[in-house]
């Protein structure tokens, strides 16, 4: 029997989301095969994270990703509040 591998993932936060969590970067621990949805769930479970919406824009690198996409340890994830540039 081997334990299911768990790995840490860094998640960047911006604007209002960073204020809610009190940090511009947090770490969540994912099981092998974890998805973007698991990342969102993990961040919302952190102190202050309960105020985040259930559905958020999530980026991996410089592109948006869907909730059902798999995440690996070296992914750079970011939670993006609704854009308000311009």
């Amino acid at each position: 029997m081997t334990e299911r591998a768990v790995f840490p993932v860094q998640v960047r936060l911006f604007a209002r989301y960073a204020e809610l969590l009190g940090s511009s970067e947090v770490t969540v621990r994912l099981p092998a095969g974890g998805t973007v949805a698991d990342v969102v769930h993990g961040v919302r479970a952190l102190p202050g994270g309960g105020a985040l919406p259930e559905r958020m824009l999530v980026a991996r690198g410089v592109e948006q990703v869907r909730y059902d996409q798999a995440v690996s340890a070296d992914d750079e994830l970011a939670l993006l509040p609704p854009m308000s540039g311009g």
Binding site: R12, F14, Q64, P81, P82, M83, G85, G86
Partner: protein, 149 residues
């Protein structure tokens, strides 16, 4: 930084970068900080960006505009603290004729506002501050960026 700027924006170099002898129409757009929002007096804005993604998304939008219309497009968006009257975004579009220049310019600003990861925080005359959430009024789920398959 190609599209994000921490110094005041200047439209002239943007126009110069898209002009050429065969392009007879230049459309420009300036987004300027105004002194009110939703009935409140605004005195200052702070723009924050997810830099690498904002640069990439701006590049994608310009590429789309230049493939959809026969134009060249230049764009810059300010980051940091801006006062009322400061220019937050500047766009210059040059094409052979005015129709494509106007249409492409409109496309670029609309796509920028919905897709580029930039956020503004307003400071009001009473000293309070708040992040602007364009989706808050309707309570809708943000769907700004297209999801890559």
């Amino acid at each position: 930084m190609q599209y994000l700027a921490s110094e005041p924006l200047n439209l002239e170099p943007l126009i110069g970068s898209v002009l050429s002898p065969e392009r007879g129409a230049v459309a420009t757009f300036l987004g300027v900080v105004r002194n009110h929002h939703a009935g409140r007096a605004v005195v200052e804005l702070t723009y924050e960006a997810y830099g690498p993604m904002a640069e990439a998304e701006c590049g994608r939008i310009l590429g789309e505009a230049e493939s959809r219309w026969p134009v060249r497009v230049a764009l810059q968006h300010r980051i940091g603290i801006l006062g009322v009257g400061d220019c937050a975004v500047a766009i210059a579009v040059a094409g052979g004729h005015r129709a494509e220049a106007f249409e492409a310019c409109r496309y670029v600003i609309e796509e920028l506002k919905s897709r580029v990861p930039i956020w503004k925080r307003e400071r009001y005359a009473d000293g309070s501050e708040a992040w602007v959430d364009p989706t808050a009024a309707g309570g809708t789920v943000p769907t700004g960026i297209r999801v890559s398959e």
